[in-house]
């Protein structure tokens, strides 16, 4: 069913990672994503992989859900690593026609695989442990400086949180409409591509109609409560950096330092 999508799903909890400030989590994730692609030898790759494992282990989310989010990109990982294997430089250790495999190529394949897996695990870790409202709150706060150049930060953040808020609602709605049409004998699981696309019409039309209806209702409800944009608006929950966040920053800084040192003192594998 549509409800089984795990990407971007929030799992309530009280783990170390859950308790971090969402702003800290976003900044750290960005720093981390940069450093993944700055690993050039196996030791630094191992440091990054270990750090990822550490975050995943301390997030308190069952490993099953991480595996589920990896399943989605499984094919991409396989394809990119295989392609990378054939594009290595240096002396071939295996040659057959135009296909040449070199040590460098194998190294590339391993790096690409580990990098993509770490990337997905770390981003899933963020979305699993941070509620959508916290996430958009954090993004709004981080983008605040852009207000100076008249970038509508609050409006964008509000649109994002509304969109996120309606994802489960629309999924549920889709489910309901699908059930209703299936009850009238709609056949969505067989036929060729064209027939399958046609079978979506009875679901998409009611879904669009109800999405527009909800949008109008929501706009009216917001206006009734005197919503007028971000100016002078205060928050119910304000977020503050704590000792735990300082600790997380230090840990990430150490990992970055470690990767840089490895890169300087050890030969590159790529």
């Amino acid at each position: 069913m549509v409800r089984d999508v795990t990407l971007g799903q929030y799992f309530p909890g009280k783990s170390l990672i859950h308790r971090l400030d969402p702003r800290a989590k976003i900044i750290l994730l960005i720093a981390y994503l940069v450093i993944i692609f700055c690993t050039f030898n196996y030791l630094s790759l191992a440091v990054v992989a270990l750090f990822t494992a550490f975050c995943v282990a301390f997030s308190g989310v069952p490993a099953k859900f991480y595996l589920k989010s990896l399943k989605v990109i499984f094919v991409i990982v396989i394809i990119t690593s295989v392609i990378n294997m054939f594009y290595g430089t240096g002396d071939p250790i295996f040659e057959w026609g135009i296909i040449k495999i070199t040590v460098n190529g194998i190294n590339r394949a391993v790096f690409v695989t580990v990098r993509i897996i770490c990337l997905i695990l770390a981003s899933s870790c963020l979305t699993f442990t941070t509620s959508p409202t916290d996430l958009t709150d954090a993004i709004e706060r981080l983008m605040k400086p852009l207000n100076k150049i008249h970038f509508p930060v609050h409006e964008i953040a509000m649109m994002m949180s509304l969109a996120l808020r309606f994802v489960p609602t629309l999924l549920e709605e889709t489910d309901k409409i699908m059930q209703a049409q299936k009850a009238r004998g709609a056949d969505m699981d067989s036929g060729n591509l064209f027939q399958r696309i046609k079978a979506l019409v009875p679901i998409l039309i009611p879904l669009f109609v109800s999405a527009f209806r909800r949008a109008y209702e929501l706009a009216t409800a917001m206006e009734c409560r005197c919503y007028r944009g971000g100016v002078g608006r205060t928050r119910m929950k304000s977020i503050h950096m704590k000792k735990l966040d300082a600790f997380a920053f230090t840990a990430t800084a150490l990992v970055i330092g470690g990767v840089v040192l490895c890169n300087i003192f050890l030969p590159a594998a790529l």
């Binding site: 409800r3 799992f11 309530p12 099953k64 309901k176 409409i177 059930q179 209703a180 049409q181 299936k182 009850a183 009238r184 004998g185 709609a186 056949d187 019409v201 009875p202 039309i205 009611p206 109609v209 109800s210």
Partner: protein, 289 residues
């Protein structure tokens, strides 16, 4: 009479293996005869809606069986579509499933999926529209131009047009005005009498259920707690209140009279029958006001 629907030890659990795991139906055992009109009551979240979705195979039971006409509906999962034509299902607020250009085409969606065409299809649509009291001229309109009540009736006609052996209606009268409720309810009863098929009616309105149902299922926190004739169910007003339900007002009045020692029967369900009982009571006692 023969059994049309049998549930054996039926259970359903939502989101098994996630933090959101929730048991919605547990160990339901019952059987329904052909041609009965069954009412299903229970407060919000008691598992009524999940139970009815299990009946036509929209969701697969976690354990237990649904037996339709002597056969387990999940015996051959590839043929599950056929079950859906036998057990017609009208969801809550069915007007949100309308999608075609005209009401006629929308009503025809179900029977056309069954493989009907030509005159057969036309007959099915026209008959269903008659049962729900839709005028001919409405049939050529866009479903999005109708009033709320008309949309509701068009959606119900879309399921009736498949001529199912069992028709399940989940709160068909919710959100309609009092007049619309009465009309729709009597149309459903008419349909039931003419086609002589089995109807299951989920409702929050005890008055509606009391008026039309032969037997009543009472659901409470995912379990089937009572299943008996309408009169018997509504003579247990204390028990029903425990489940967050109540008996119809008129039934309550008659139960109070009985408590005070007057000779009236249990489980009076309509104002008319209450009236005749009170008249005969007054005659017997020889009191005129």
């Amino acid at each position: 009479m023969s059994k049309i629907l049998e549930l054996k030890n039926l259970s359903f659990v939502y989101g098994q293996g996630t933090p959101f795991e929730k048991c919605a139906v547990s160990n339901v055992d019952l059987s329904i005869e052909k041609g009965e009109l069954i009412g299903i009551i229970g407060h919000t979240g008691s598992g009524k809606s999940t139970l009815v979705q299990l009946l036509n195979g929209l969701i697969r039971p976690t354990s237990g069986q649904v037996i339709l006409d002597g056969e387990d509906i999940w015996k051959n999962p590839k043929e599950i579509r056929k079950i859906r034509f036998k057990v017609g299902m009208v969801f809550q607020y069915p007007e949100y499933q309308l999608f075609e250009e005209t009401v006629y085409k929308d009503i025809a969606f179900g029977p056309a999926n069954m493989g009907k065409s030509g005159n057969e299809l036309h007959d099915a649509v026209i008959k269903a529209a008659e049962f729900t009291g839709l005028d001919r001229e409405i049939l050529s309109k866009s479903p999005f131009d109708l009033s709320g009540g008309e949309k509701r009736r068009a959606a119900i006609a879309g399921v009736m047009a498949m001529d199912p052996e069992v028709l399940v209606l989940d709160e068909p009268t919710a959100g309609l005005d009092p007049m619309g409720r009465d009309v729709l309810l009597s149309q459903i009863v008419q349909y039931h009498r003419k086609r002589k098929n089995t109807v299951l009616l989920v409702s929050h309105s005890m008055e509606d259920i009391a008026r039309v149902a032969d037997r009543i299922m009472v659901m409470n926190s995912s379990k089937l707690v009572m299943f008996d004739e309408t009169k018997k169910i509504f003579s247990h007003s204390r028990e029903l209140e425990k489940y967050g339900l109540r008996v119809p007002q008129i039934t309550k009045i008659m139960l109070k009279l009985k408590e005070k020692g007057y000779d009236v029967s249990d489980g009076v369900l309509t104002v008319d029958s209450a009236l005749s009982q009170i008249y005969s009571l007054l005659n017997r006692e020889g009191k005129i006001w």
